[in-house]
């Protein structure tokens, strides 16, 4: 027994020694640990990336790293959602809209030293789309349907790539600018196979250096970059899933830049001279799907009444604390070229709402409302749902909320609301004005046809406009068609249009030259740090 006691004592001594050692080290180390190194930008991410293979991921969180390591044939021009040349110097589109020919930039090399040529580009799309491709098993490639319009890719010479489409598909170019269109090194895929996602190689301004699981991803300056090389030596992406901890790291100096600042903390950072807060509206829309097939919402007047009844300004200012703008229609203003500026949000007018409900004979109707606990782009869905419930109660609609976890929620909403609910929360973030209305507002996009029109909206005029806009290769013509579509949809009110999310970020005082993009991508090539 004495031996055991002695052991306990000595263990205690070791414990004390360890604590003393740590405390002794804490003083000089603590301040060093809190300071990020010069010329290295430490970025706070919301989660560990899934993979650094751009064709296998779907999360914006992963895109933020990828956009600094890889490039596509085209990209969004700074501050817009319009495409401009990137790895392709120029392109031409055949008159029938079926053939896209790209001229590649000469002399570009992947980080592994292999050359970017037409064969490499072809490899990228074949790997994703052709199930018999030898490297198709390095997937799955969840967003490969972005390119399902492709019939074939040809490489007539090293500097020319020709895409042949099955049918005219105008969003093709902006899909190429999306992360799913980023070009990976075939040599690296051949070398690493399924492990390519942890050994990435692209052509971007930063090249991959290190991935320590659950701690950091490090990318360093690509000194052979074909464009202007970045001034930062390295970027370190740290996954910090808990928002409070992320804020604490930012405050203690462990991060130079963090994205998705909780609304509660934005004001705190804005008031502090040591930090700069950034805001940028993006291609996001938060709305309620209304069940236009059955129940009170089948009447257009009730759907309009819901739009009038909800105090969107209060939602945006109070619940979301200014991190979003009031939405006017189905298309976010971030798509500046396709957005109908003349569209006004439904004003908050409870009297008008009551009038419309009375005219439709649905006073006191009982409604079921699907709310989610949280999910991609859903902002603060539970308090938003509660505020909406209160607004609708004020005009005499009795709303019963059913709350579900995100995956369960999608499993209930995506197959359609029929027989289950009258309304459901939803949010989308897209890269082309075509995507959301095409997938969620057309008659041919009803759930039984494999689309996301869970509220069964149907208007032949809208269907026709969307089909025409997709076939046209003339941007001005497409813009005209989308603007007309927005006017009709706003009036038909298949959705209650609520908010467009403004992405935010905060940086330390030493960071300069940073800006957020409407694409929500994080481009850090031009950032400097003192």
């Amino acid at each position: 027994m004495q031996a055991l006691l002695n052991k306990i004592r000595s263990l205690g001594a070791i414990g004390l020694f360890a604590a003393a050692l740590a405390t002794a080290l804490a003083a000089p180390w603590g301040s060093a640990a809190a300071q990020t190194p010069p010329n290295v930008l430490v970025v706070g991410q919301i989660a560990e990336p899934k993979s650094l293979d751009p064709h296998t991921v779907t999360a914006v969180n992963d895109f933020r790293i990828l956009m600094n390591v890889y490039e596509g044939l085209v990209r969004y021009a700074d501050g817009t959602l319009q495409v401009e040349p990137a790895l392709a110097e120029s392109w031409s589109i055949s008159d029938d809209g079926l053939s896209y020919t790209f001229k590649l930039r000469a002399g570009v090399k992947f980080h592994d030293g292999s050359a970017l040529d037409a064969a490499a580009v072809k490899f990228n799309f074949d790997r994703m789309l052709d199930e018999s491709h030898p490297f198709h098993d390095t997937g799955p490639f969840p967003l490969s349907f972005f390119f399902s319009a492709i019939d074939g890719v040809a490489a007539p010479d090293a500097g020319t790539v020709v895409f042949t489409l099955k049918e005219p598909y105008a969003p093709f170019l902006s899909n190429l600018a999306y992360p799913t269109g980023l070009i990976v090194s075939p040599a690296a895929v051949r070398e690493h196979g399924a492990e390519f996602g942890r050994n990435p190689s692209g052509t971007g301004p930063f090249r991959f250096a290190e991935w320590q699981s659950n701690a950091k991803v490090v990318v360093v300056r690509n000194d052979d970059y074909w464009g202007a090389a970045p001034s930062l030596e390295a970027l370190i992406f740290r996954p910090i899933t808990d928002a409070n901890t992320r804020v604490a790291e930012m405050l203690s100096g462990g991060l130079d830049l963090m994205v998705e600042v909780p609304p509660d903390n934005v004001a705190q950072f804005a008031a502090d001279d040591a930090f700069t807060v950034y805001e940028q509206a993006g291609p996001h829309v938060w709305f309620l799907i209304l069940n236009a097939k059955e129940g009170p919402m089948a009447d257009k007047r009730v759907r309009q009444a819901v739009n009038y009844a909800i105090d969107k300004r209060a939602l945006v200012d109070n619940v979301l604390q200014g991190t979003a703008a009031v939405a006017a229609g189905p298309t976010p203003p971030a798509f500046a070229w396709a957005y109908n500026e003349s569209l006004q949000p439904y004003p908050h007018d409870p009297d008008k709402a009551r009038e419309l409900i009375a005219a439709a004979g649905h006073e006191g109707a009982e409604l079921t409302f699907y709310v989610t606990e949280g999910g991609s782009g859903m902002l603060d869905p539970v308090p938003m749902g509660a505020a909406i419930q209160a607004d609708l109660a004020a005009v005499g609609l009795q709303v019963e909320i059913e709350t579900y976890e995100w995956n369960t929620f999608l499993g209930k909403v995506n197959p359609g609301l029929e027989g289950k609910a009258d309304m459901a929360e939803m949010a989308w973030m897209t890269n082309d004005p075509d995507t959301l209305p095409y997938l969620a507002l057309r008659t041919d996009a009803w759930p039984d046809k494999g689309g996301f029109n869970s509220g069964y909206y149907s208007n032949p005029e809208v269907d026709e406009l969307l089909e025409a806009a997709r076939r046209s290769t003339d941007q001005a013509e497409r813009a005209r068609l989308y603007k007309e579509m927005q006017t009709i949809v706003r009036d038909d009110a298949p959705w209650a249009f609520i908010a467009n999310w403004k992405q935010n970020a905060v940086s330390g005082a030493r960071v300069e030259g940073f800006k957020l993009q409407p694409s929500f991508f994080l481009l850090l090539g031009g950032v400097t740090k003192q």
Partner: protein, 315 residues
């Protein structure tokens, strides 16, 4: 003894595998599937079918479990689709981080808890006892994730003495002092509740023992009070405290889930939470297998320690 340990280990095997079957069924029953989690808003029936085919999830449940078990027996835990890496790599990396955190917390709570319990019992109703009992009450009632945030605010943000999160410094570091520095806040936070429980239990066990006749005899013999307390009373009290420490080891492992999230400690708790949210079946199975096995081992260890201390239990 050796035979006893072997028998306990063998009897744990069906328990652990039964658990994996239950987890497998629960994962199959909760709504939403991995394809939905991967595709999110883009989950059309067509896309879901494509992803399920590529992940092998279009097979029947029995078939899926049989495949998993077959691979496992060959040492293959499968590949996580939410992380795109072998399950075993992730699980081992994460579990060793959790062991470091939970092990340190267990060390802290055992030492402090026993010490506080002894002092409290020996000085029953004295000021030290009152102080300890009061502190223990506060410690047990404090939600540990909240305490963690508070400690971060104090030590990392306000005083900038300790790092706010992570296991190693993000730049440089990576050695033992760096690890210890990052360990202080999460390990202390994690040990608070268990310290309280152990202290309370030690106190009552000690009080009970101190009232025994043989203690009075020992004192009457004129033995040194220190010797009476540590040699006679503490040893007897320890027998009933040890199994509780074993159980606390389980709680500490469980509590690590919150603490790992707050401190961004790359442990297995955070991994399991994320794996369940993304319906990453293979990762959940691998994680549960390892955690359940360690649970069994901890309890076995406590039982063995107990029977070593109390010869009556040996037979």
């Amino acid at each position: 003894m050796g035979y006893y340990i072997l028998r306990r280990l063998l009897s744990a095997i069906p328990v652990v595998f039964g658990l994996t079957i239950i987890v497998f069924l629960i994962m199959a029953m909760i709504p939403g599937d991995p394809a939905l989690a991967i595709l999110g808003a883009y989950a059309t029936p067509e896309n879901i079918a494509r992803i399920n085919r590529e992940l092998g999830l279009d097979k029947s449940l029995v078939e899926q479990y049989a495949i998993w078990l077959g691979n496992l027996l060959q040492g293959d835990f499968g590949r996580s689709y939410s992380l795109n890496r072998p399950v075993i790599d992730e699980v081992l990396e994460r579990f060793s981080a959790t062991l470091i955190l939970a092990g340190s917390a267990l060390l802290i709570c055992s030492l402090l808890g026993l010490l506080a319990g002894i002092v409290s019992a020996v000085r029953q109703f004295g000021w030290a006892d009152r102080l300890i009992t009061f502190t223990v009450l506060i410690g047990i009632s404090t939600p540990s994730f909240w305490l963690g945030l508070l400690l971060i605010l104090l030590f990392a943000v306000t005083w900038q003495l300790l790092p706010a999160s992570g296991m190693y410094a993000i730049y440089g570091g990576g050695d033992l002092p760096d690890l210890l520095l990052h360990l202080i806040l999460p390990a202390c936070t994690l040990s608070v509740v268990a310290t309280g429980v152990i202290a309370r239990l030690t106190r009552s066990a000690m009080l009970e023992v101190l009232r025994q006749d043989y203690i009075r005899t020992a004192r009457a013999k004129g033995l040194d009070e220190r010797r009476v307390i540590y040699r006679h009373a503490f040893r007897a009290a320890l027998v009933s405290v040890i199994p509780v420490i074993g159980i606390q080891a389980g709680f500490v492992l469980g509590g690590a889930v919150y603490i790992e999230t707050v401190f961004q400690w790359p442990g297995i708790g955070g991994m399991l939470v994320k794996a369940i949210a993304t319906r990453d079946l293979l990762l959940v199975q691998g994680g549960v297998l390892v955690v359940a096995t360690s649970y069994v081992l901890f309890n076995l260890l406590a039982d063995v320690a107990q029977s070593l201390l109390d010869p009556r239990l040996k037979s």
